[in-house]
């Protein structure tokens, strides 16, 4: 191979590597281009990730990151106008709705794990949580062993539910586990005294506290039982779209934009009650912002 050929070859390879190739090999982007519409899956009450404010607008940390993705899609496809369709999803229907094409991307509070990876793809991690307990300040519960023989509530369909059932069996705690249908109902169960503690992702527990009648009555306690990575869900086998979403999230994180969004939702007063969650950026999150990745824990 002479030098000219080599230069040409290098140029071609470099050209392929640098031109955006997303649109060609992505069925999702193709669909978005053809319909001029992107469908976003969001949650209704995952404070402060994705929820309705008092004007029924969808707001939250995950929602802002998802809107960054929408901007990137719009720029990538060079669309003058991109309609956004907001689809509320629940923890039970979110996976089928991504699979059957009702939503193109879901950013809320969805844990990236191996079982789910069989059905859907996950973007770069957007948040890392630990699963802990919320309890009344004067309940005397400090950590998981204190739950023995008590009623404990968790939200159906979450990782906390499994961890709690497993803990109950492994440690023979003889807890009564209540599975409520959403975080709001779990908190109601705790608030009305049916359960002594509520196990959930720490960030969501702080979020529920933000809604409570008297936030000062409650405390988040206990050693985290697991760490989990939240990601945005996409359809499987669509590397073009995933690459675009991943690079958008990575850019937001390394540029400091994600930390600004974090501070807005976790370190300053948020709707609905203008309560500051005061959820300081964890070491895990700092590491993630430095080095964005799509790894699941487990």
């Amino acid at each position: 191979m002479n030098r000219i050929q080599l230069i040409i070859a290098v140029a071609i390879v470099a050209g392929i590597a640098t031109t955006p190739v997303f649109a060609q090999d992505s069925s999702t982007l193709k669909k978005i281009r053809e319909t001029g519409t992107i469908s976003l899956g969001h949650r209704e009450s995952s404070i402060p990730f994705s929820y309705y404010d008092d004007k029924q607008q969808v707001i939250g940390y995950s929602q802002e990151l998802m809107l960054k993705v929408v901007d990137a899609v719009k720029a990538e496809l060079k669309l003058a106008k991109l309609d956004i369709r907001l689809v509320p999803v629940t923890s039970q229907n979110r996976i089928p709705l991504v699979q059957n094409g009702t939503v193109d991307i879901e950013c809320g509070s969805t844990t990236n794990n191996l079982e789910r990876q069989k059905q859907v793809a996950f973007s770069n991690t957007i948040f890392i949580i630990g699963t802990r307990l919320m309890t009344r300040k004067d309940s005397g519960i400090k950590d998981f062993p204190d739950l023995a023989g008590k009623n404990v509530v968790t939200t159906a369909g979450t990782t906390s539910e499994r961890l709690l059932r497993k803990l109950n069996e492994d440690k023979k705690l003889s807890m009564n586990i209540i599975s409520a249908k959403d975080h709001g109902e779990s908190f109601l169960t705790l608030e009305t005294g049916r359960a002594a503690a509520f196990m959930m992702d720490d960030a969501l527990l702080y979020g529920e506290m933000a809604k409570a009648k008297r936030a000062g009555d409650w405390a988040v306690v206990g050693t985290p039982q697991s760490r989990e990575a939240y990601g945005c869900m996409l359809r499987k086998d669509d590397p073009g779209f995933k690459k675009l979403v991943d690079s958008t999230i990575a850019k937001a994180m390394t540029s400091g934009e994600a930390e600004r969004i974090y501070n807005k939702w976790f370190m300053s007063p948020v709707p609905p009650k203008s309560l500051n969650l005061n959820f300081v950026l964890s070491e895990d999150m700092k590491a993630l912002f430095k080095n964005p990745n799509d790894k699941a824990f487990e």
Partner: protein
Amino acid sequence: MGYHWNWAVLLAPAPSGGLTYLDWLLSGLKVTLALSLSSWLMALALGSIMGVLRTVPNRWLSGIASAYVEIFRNIPLLVQLFIWYFVLPELLPTGIGTAFKQLDPLLQQFLSAWICLGFFTSARVCEQVRAGIGSLPPGQKNAALALGFTLPQTYRFVLVPMAFRLIVPPLTSEFLNIFKNSAVCSTIGLLELAAQGRQLVDYTAQAYESFIAVTLLYVLINVVVMVAMRKVEERTRVPGYMGGK
């Protein structure tokens, strides 16, 4: 649409107690059956009493029965369930409310669900019984009274037995409905069939297998009920009335 089918998941071991996921569904089936059958007994008993009261020639008694029907028929089932489960314990005297809330959660959920489904369905049974009694020719009642029966005896020996034989087909529908309505109780955390199906999805992410299996189990229940009720219908049919020979 990129779904990864895996029917073997039903026989895969579930994370707890050496059971398979199919065992989860079957335990849900048991709860659904226990809840629906016990609620049906309550609905049938209460509904019959109220249905009779709606037809008696006493404005107060029939007024009470109509109010009963309107309350339980006009409030959505889900709202009624939340009232029984979440609201009622807060309205009771603090001591009793707290005692109830400290019971085993499964018992709390089952009791609330049982009362809720029982009352809701009893209002519907009541209307069927009233319609059954109303459809009898007035001559039957008059004849019984002319023979010297008291009013309670007329109901006990003539009107109610006749009415029940006539309303077996609509009662079959109500009986089928109670199994399907019981799925609503998964919203308060009762692990019945629908809830177990949902839980299977949470654990395995195999939504379609799970919901298809749950659907088939509901169909199975309903086919059994339909066949059994058809037999009852044949045995109790009144010659000369609807479909009777």
